[in-house]
């Protein structure tokens, strides 16, 4: 049973993206018909600075195998400094999660601008493969 489950297991990735850059980048990837794996569920927020670290942990608890956070490149934030404030928060979060023994690689942070449809597709492809390599999430998962 478990083996069969493993075989059909596909990584589930929650992508929390900012409205102004990465969401538009994903849209561009879509309208340019660039192919990328369907493992990602996109959640749109106004800005990466608005992301509560709780979203990331909650996603991991509720069964996501990976969480991808993406926003505007530093210096290009729609709200000028939202992503710079977020960068500090994420640096602390990633280091802390790794420290307690959670796989730090399950949380990925990147920047994708509105004109980078190809980069968005690349990120999704590579992150999906990286999460696939780590395997299904077992730690912090509710009911496991």
């Amino acid at each position: 049973m478990d083996e069969a489950k493993e075989k059909i297991w596909e990584p589930k990735i929650v992508a929390i993206v900012c409205n102004w850059c990465t969401y538009a980048g994903a849209d561009l990837a879509g309208i340019s018909r660039i192919q990328y794996p369907p493992n990602v569920r996109i959640m749109r927020v106004p800005c990466t600075g608005r992301i509560n670290p709780f979203y990331i942990l909650k996603a991991l608890q509720e069964g996501a195998d990976g969480v991808l956070i993406s926003g505007c490149h530093p210096g290009e934030c729609h709200y000028l400094t939202g992503n710079l404030i977020a960068r500090r928060k994420f640096a602390m979060l990633k280091s802390f999660l790794t420290y307690v023994g959670l796989e730090g690689d399950r949380t990925v942070f990147t920047w994708v601008s509105a004109s980078e449809g190809e980069r968005f597709a690349k990120v999704i492809r590579q992150v999906t493969e990286a999460i696939r390599a780590i395997g299904p999430a077992r730690k912090l998962v509710k009911g496991s």
Partner: protein
């Protein structure tokens, strides 16, 4: 020699009499031997209740927000033109003063609303360590004399060297003098070197991922979610805390281990740039959960990555309230 305790009483009395403060937060004898609890004094004749000794554990900054916030709530019933601020006096050690700095930076109250009575601190006694030292014998009474703790247990008298039973955080404390104060009682003490300040982090980081996660889950399995850590923490002053929120319900009210782990992870992470390592949370934990190993990591990262030490100066902005163009970016993923 006039002790710090007597000086605190005298100062508190004169401040209350002169009306410079409306309220004083200090320590008094608790109901159990060698346990001191916070006390709240409004009348000058009550100052004899005040004590100050190495058994004063709690960080009193917690009660500054409590008193000011509840006073503010009461003032809602008063006509706007008749509203008055209450000035709170607080007996503050190094860690308490750092917590007050954090409150001030987070604009929870004005500097005029608090009068800080600074006291020197050489560390407080960790009751768990003391009990382990006495093989669990019941403590009946005790006193400190020249760095030695004379304890009377149910089975006789004993002597313990004070430095052996001081709390872990006090042993590596760099800020044992108040960082800000209005009145300083007693002499400033020499700061500890704190060379091994982050040793606990270095040691824990040496373990493998699996060992670290096992340690974390084992510690968190002890947690009964009484929220004593949150209630004692001076940085946890939110009137509405995420653990009690129902829209959204952040933390499930189940016995699932992941719910407890999530609660702890989030409470710990809320301490980014706000933990002063006062040890209140660990001291009040009824289950003895090791929180410090994890809190210290947050402190360490803040220092290593952003050169930030929580609450040491009113000029330095909060860790997450600011940013720099040159913040580390090595964790950002770039596709090949």
């Amino acid at each position: 020699m006039v002790t710090v305790e007597t000086k605190v009483r005298e100062l508190a009395k004169s401040l209350l009499e002169e009306g410079k403060i409306d309220y004083l937060i200090g320590y008094e004898e608790g109901t159990l031997p060698l346990s001191m609890t916070p006390c709240f004094i409004q009348a000058p004749e009550e100052v004899s209740r005040l004590v100050y000794n190495p058994f004063c554990v709690q960080n009193l900054a917690k009660y500054v927000t409590d008193v000011i916030f509840s006073h503010r709530e009461n003032q809602r019933r008063v006509k706007p033109e008749e509203r008055a601020k209450k000035v709170v006096g607080v007996v503050a050690r190094g860690c308490t003063s750092r917590s007050i700095v954090i409150h001030l930076l987070e604009r929870q109250y004005d500097r005029e609303e608090v009068v800080i009575i600074g006291v020197p601190c050489d560390g407080y006694v960790d009751m768990r360590k003391l009990k382990a030292h006495l093989d669990g014998k019941e403590i009946v009474a005790g006193e400190v004399k020249d760095g030695t703790l004379l304890v009377e247990t149910g089975e006789g008298r004993g002597e313990v060297i004070l430095s052996q039973v001081l709390s872990d955080n006090c042993l590596v404390c760099r800020y044992n003098n108040p960082v800000i104060y209005d009145y300083m009682v007693g002499e400033l003490v020499a700061p500890r070197q704190g060379e091994e300040e982050f040793q606990v982090v270095a040691e824990f980081s040496q373990l493998s991922d699996r060992e670290r996660w096992e340690y974390f889950t084992r510690e968190m399995a002890k947690c009964i979610r009484c929220y004593a850590c949150r209630n004692a923490c001076p940085s946890c002053y939110c009137r509405s805390c995420f653990v009690e929120q129902t829209t959204p319900r952040w933390i499930g009210l189940t016995v699932d281990p992941s719910d407890v782990q999530l609660f702890q992870l989030m409470r710990l992470f809320h301490m980014v740039g706000r933990c002063v390592d006062c040890g209140s949370c660990s001291a009040v934990c009824p289950m003895g959960v090791d929180l410090r190993t994890f809190l210290k990591k947050i402190d360490y990262d803040g220092w290593k990555l952003f050169k930030n030490r929580p609450g040491v100066s009113l000029e330095e902005p909060l860790l997450l309230g600011t940013f720099s163009e040159s913040d580390p970016e090595d964790f950002i993923f770039h596709p090949k």
